[in-house]
Symmetry: C2
Subunit: 442 residues, 2 copies
């Protein structure tokens, strides 16, 4: 089985290392020798270590143009590891499929935006389009959905899909760091980009979630329908409140079948402290699936990195070597159901609310009234002593100053909680903007 790899960054390097280290075993377990017969990368001269330099200096293997590599008669499988929603990645994947080459890619952006057309093309050409590495790095969630859970109707799939964000939240939780400090640390360690928006804004998780949703529910991709909120507004106070109330704060991607349609959402969420997912820390990812027969399963593993991602790429290649041919999104693309999304306003769940209540007569009464008007009932209220206060209730308070108040609601709707918070703001009894975080029942 002849491979052409486009993109020689960390994942490409990891893949070449796997072939070098486990080639013999792979030939034995997959029934075919796996050989690297073509490579392409943006910069031929970049220092990437001896093994890759040797490949790059071999004119029989090196291609300046990934599209030419994709069409080369010397390859059976085109491995796209360049990344990017369009551009060279899209052009070369299309060229490979058109030339009846199997494609393996780790490119979630490309798939989330163009997966339907690419899947249809792959099916028409009778070749594979595999993308285990596109979601949650080394975790075999694509295979699990496409194969292991075939006999289930999925009701919900959710997980920690962005390692950068989970690293930052873990640092805030374990070291008491402020968001900015934890982010700077993530950047220093190479877990976050100089512009971290794509990760901390939830967009990377949204791409991955869209792929999971399609596989889990047999629906067409709808990445634009994902409701997205990032972690950039999470504060140390929220992290502390989560702990106090028996929760942990995680950035979740959740896709759920409801009577109103499918919910796809990425946002910070409280999860019960005793749940396994609450203990998935650092850059680790996880995905949980609820199926009608299997009930609840949870997969945990590294969400990124050379080795784990290359391991998933290799599993896709081994499937091709073994002759496994499945439609990319499990059902043939033409048979995927239309996507019917549920509006976020109708989302049902419990909420954490943090208010800065002005210490004025009637402030609490007005807040309680606004909640009651929207039918929101409260499970708990905690008035936390301001940090500068001395022991003793009310000590250190300045009359008229704001007092932080934390509430957990019973199950209500997104529309109700939003209306209640808006009314409170308009009443002028609270300082700052109220903060609301969804609680995910596991």
């Amino acid at each position: 089985l002849k491979l052409g790899i486009a993109g020689l960054g960390t994942v490409g390097g990891g893949l070449i290392e796997i072939i070098a280290k486990h080639g013999t075993k792979l030939a034995e377990t997959s029934g075919r020798a796996i050989a690297l017969t073509g490579v392409s990368a943006r910069d031929k001269k970049r220092d990437r270590g001896a093994a890759i330099a040797k490949l790059a200096s071999n004119p029989a293997i090196w291609h300046d143009d990934p599209v030419k590599l994709a069409q080369s008669k010397d390859i059976d499988v085109f491995v796209e590891l360049m990344g990017g929603e369009g551009g060279a990645a899209k052009a070369s994947v299309e060229a490979a499929l058109a030339a009846k080459k199997h494609v393996v890619t780790a490119n979630k952006a490309l798939l989330a935006h163009h997966g339907m057309e690419l899947a249809a093309l792959a099916e028409k050409q009778g070749v594979s389009l595999n993308f285990e590495a596109a979601v949650a790095g080394g975790i075999p969630i694509i295979k699990t959905l496409r194969e292991s859970l075939a006999g289930n109707a999925v009701s919900r799939i959710y997980g920690i899909l962005n390692g950068t964000s989970n690293f930052i939240l873990t640092r805030m939780q374990e070291e008491g760091q402020a968001y900015g400090v934890a982010l700077a640390q993530a950047q220093k360690l190479g877990y976050a980009e100089a512009d971290p928006t794509f990760d901390v804004g939830g967009f990377d998780a949204a791409h991955k979630l869209a792929l999971l949703t399609s596989l889990a529910f047999g629906t067409r991709l709808a990445v634009k329908d994902v409701y997205v909120e990032g972690i950039d507004t999470v504060t140390a106070a929220d992290i502390d409140a989560a702990k106090d109330l028996g929760y942990r704060l995680k950035l979740l991607g959740v896709a759920k079948r409801t009577a109103r349609g499918i919910e796809q959402r990425v946002h910070p969420a409280f999860v019960p402290a005793h749940s396994a997912i609450a203990h998935v820390n650092g850059v680790t990812n996880c995905v949980a699936v609820n199926g009608d027969f299997v009930r609840d399963i949870l997969l945990v593993g590294p969400g990124a990195g050379a080795g784990p991602t290359a391991s998933s790429v290799m599993s896709d290649i081994v499937d091709i070597a073994r002759g496994v041919r499945l439609p990319p999104f499990m059902r043939p693309a033409a048979k995927l159901e239309a996507y019917a999304g549920a509006a976020m306003d109708g989302h049902e769940g419990a909420y954490y609310v943090r208010l800065s209540v002005l210490d004025k007569p009637g402030a609490f009464a007005s807040i309680a009234t606004r909640m009651a008007e929207q039918g929101v009932s409260l499970e708990s209220i905690v008035q936390r002593r301001p940090p500068e206060a001395l022991p003793g209730i009310g000590a250190g308070r300045t009359p008229g100053a704001a007092v932080p108040v934390v509430m957990i609601t019973h199950v209500t709707t997104e529309a109700a909680i939003r209306k209640a918070l808006l009314a409170m703001e308009q009443d002028g009894k609270i300082g700052d903007k109220p903060k609301m975080i969804r609680i995910e029942q596991l």
Copy 2:
């Protein structure tokens, strides 16, 4: 694809339910209609619900003899759900393979003891022998090892492989129940048999571990080499000590490559309280794998039950429908390496030790000396106040009575700790038998 199911217990019933509920979807995603064309069970008349009664009363489908069903020209796949290491299960699986029928089974005892011969026969006949449901119920660990982790060398695989034992340990931990009380509750809820030895003695986990070991390391099955210790000697004091020291107590199955050979062991173990595996509670199972590229992945899910087990059986059937044909143990049986086991004496790890120290002059000195003689150094020592004592050090103690002492050692060997404990017993400075539990570094 025509199925013959032998065994109409809970799993058989679950499988029939999946076919009834998701038959259309399965035909679409697997490319072939899946039909039930034969059934067999020990007792035709047992009440199993309307759907199964209808099948049993259809003479075109019902077979009194599972071997006849296995050989029937009306089936393509023989689904063995009877259980048992030999007997009808073995005879019918052999008959099915001889007749070139694919086989799907959930029978860990059969596979652990006869898997090598059955795999060789299946390969010779060119048919599948799939057993996803034989290990950890609904968790897709067989597929993960056989397919997703193909590009890895595994260094360790471990997990909570017996739901009954994990349920009992969880009750002891969360409700403070004694072992006997928790066991009785497990029996009442149907999680434990009247004779629970197979589960609580660690034998069920050993069968599953042997299958995982072979798949993870590419070695021949060696179930008899598994070192087995059950949970029947675990006390509330051990559970409490684990908590105090920052651990949780779990029954683990562990297979590990060491310089001395492969370790296969099932025993109660301390795992760090902050690890995800520490939060896998109740009848839930989990399996963790360390691979050289993927690093650490963890799969969590229901270890038994009609739905989850049937979900795994169905995934095996769907693979057959899709034309996926892999050697049962990933490599062809003839190419599996010989198994080279490491003696348990050489096991390296930290240990928890609980002693009942007689309150006599020199008792502590003699214990410390015995540890030092074997080169065992201590990380911590906790002398817990006897339950009847009043507050205050030493209060309530009767001179000469036994005082419970708990120790955590640094990494040492099994031989060293065993020799040290034996010497202490012989010194006569401790009451009762000393207790030792291994600590698993995660």
